[in-house]
Every structure is written in structure tokens, then in C-alpha cells.
Amino acid sequence: MSESIPARDFGPVSPEKMKTMAALLQDPNPIHWDVDAVRKLDMGDRPVNQGPINMSFLVNTLTSWTNDPGALRELVIRYQANVFAGDVVHCEAALESEADGLARCAVTASVDGKPVITGSATLARRH
């Protein structure tokens, strides 16, 4: 397979975006917006990025490649680890097959080489 899907980096992850996301999701968990709450849980001193933000970074990477946000046909993910404010999330997708206008790939989001999301995706491609 000669073609590759360009990787993308997102970040440093902003605590301000986490506040927007907490309000959108009506998520009362303070680890996303209150550093004191994070410290009390011995999770360090940086807010924890919401999983859906990390997942969306992966989606952005895939749909940048297709140049069509409507191209996603299937996404399967597992959350593996937390991302904290200030981290840079590296998103990559490895093309595994392409047939009948559908591209299948393995996807990974990672921070400093450690996976935070793993999974797979299928995209429709226009030719």
C-alpha cells in the first residue's frame, strides 16, 4: 500500500477547551476544570482532557485525509489512558486495505509515544 494517511498533532491541549466541553456535555466531574480536584485525587496538577476531545482529534485526522467530514463510515475505539492539559496528542492512522471505495485503517492517538486511544476506522473515498 503506497499511500499513507498524514499524521496530525493536536495541542498543547487547552484547559479552556475542556471548560467548553464540560458545559456542552453537562459533565459535573471536576477533574476537567478544577485543578484542586485533580490534586485531591493524586492525579497531578493539570486538568484531564475529556475522552471525546481526544476521540475527535482522531476523527479530524481521518477526515482531513478524505477532505470530507461525511466520509466516516465506522469508528471503533478504546480509551487507554488520560491526556492532561499541556499534552500534545499525536494522531495517526495506518491504511490496511482499500477496496470498493472504502478505506480501512488502524488508528492510534498517543502522548509521548504512549497510546491514549486505539481502534479502527472505515472511510468512504471519493475518486
Binding site: 475542556m18 456542552l24 456535555l25 471525546p52 479530524n60 477526515t63 461525511g70 466516516l72
Partner: protein
């Protein structure tokens, strides 16, 4: 009521309709650094052949949950689970027949499809509850979402387990 919660399988959520307004999609895209113009502009969406801006796929999962008229707290209650015991997202799968578009109304329905009890040496006893939500428009399937929560059952775990 069964101890292994198998009687929860098949529990149907109320269901209903859902639409994603422009402001919500805009703020989501801003928060997740989604820069494709077809998420925000009708003209850019039309260039790709869509009649309205596309809802970001990350937000679609939450549109499914909202449309099915469930909250995560409802699922924890149904599973007799205390949120303070540390629920975790399990696998999430979304299948799109077509993208979700801003401002359109979709029908949502869903149910619990599986409850699986497991025991790990480090994790102790936990249940995996899986639920499926489907969105459709005018009878056409649009999105199917299957996702799960991992619910640690600390009171059933050997002392010292996570």
C-alpha cells in the same frame, strides 16, 4: 432482580427525536480543533454535496444518547452502580450510513444489549454493560452506536483489588 443483572438486557430507553443546533456543533468543533469548513458553513457543506453543515462525528455519539433520552446516571442506576466507584468507558463503535446534518430532526431508539460479568486478577470483579442506540430519519437508518461502560464491583472483589 437477578444478581448478575442479566434481566437488564433488553431494557429499552424512552427514545425520541433529536437535532443538533448550529451553536452546539460550532462550539464542539471549536473545542476539538475541527477545522474543516463543512462543519460550520452551509456553502462549504454544499460544495461537498451536503445540504447543511455536518455535525462533528464526535458529537454524534452524544446526540444519540440525548435522542434516546438517557443519561449515564440512568445507566448506572439501572445497574445499581455508585458513580463514585469509578465507571470507565469501554469500547465505542459508531456506524454511519450517512453523516448527521445540523438542524435536521432524527428519531432515536435504543436498549441495553448485553451485561457481562468478568473477573481480573488486578481489576477484581466488574460488569460490562453494553447499549445500542440507532438514529434514523424518515425511516432511513443514519447512525448506529454501540458502546459500553466498565463498572467495577468493589464489594465483590477480593480485598486489595482496584
Amino acid at each position: 432482580v437477578s444478581e448478575d443483572f442479566q434481566d437488564r438486557v433488553g431494557h429499552r430507553f424512552p427514545g425520541g427525536t433529536v437535532s443538533v443546533p448550529h451553536w452546539e456543533n460550532w462550539l464542539w468543533c471549536d473545542a476539538v480543533l475541527a477545522d474543516h469548513p463543512a462543519h460550520r458553513s452551509e456553502a462549504a457543506a454544499r460544495e461537498l454535496g451536503y445540504p447543511a453543515p455536518l455535525v462533528h462525528p464526535g458529537l454524534v455519539y452524544f446526540a444519540c444518547v440525548r435522542g434516546a433520552r438517557i443519561t449515564f446516571a440512568d445507566i448506572f442506576n439501572l445497574m445499581d452502580f455508585d458513580e463514585n466507584d469509578g465507571p470507565m468507558f469501554g469500547e465505542q463503535r459508531m456506524v454511519f450510513a450517512e453523516p448527521l446534518l445540523e438542524g435536521l430532526e432524527y428519531e432515536a431508539e435504543g436498549e441495553i444489549t448485553a451485561v457481562l460479568r468478568k473477573e481480573g486478577r488486578r481489576a477484581g470483579v466488574f460488569d460490562i454493560v453494553t447499549f445500542e442506540i440507532r438514529l434514523s430519519r424518515e425511516g432511513r437508518p443514519v447512525v448506529a452506536s454501540t458502546s459500553s461502560f466498565v463498572l467495577p464491583r468493589r464489594h465483590l472483589s477480593p480485598q486489595g483489588a482496584a
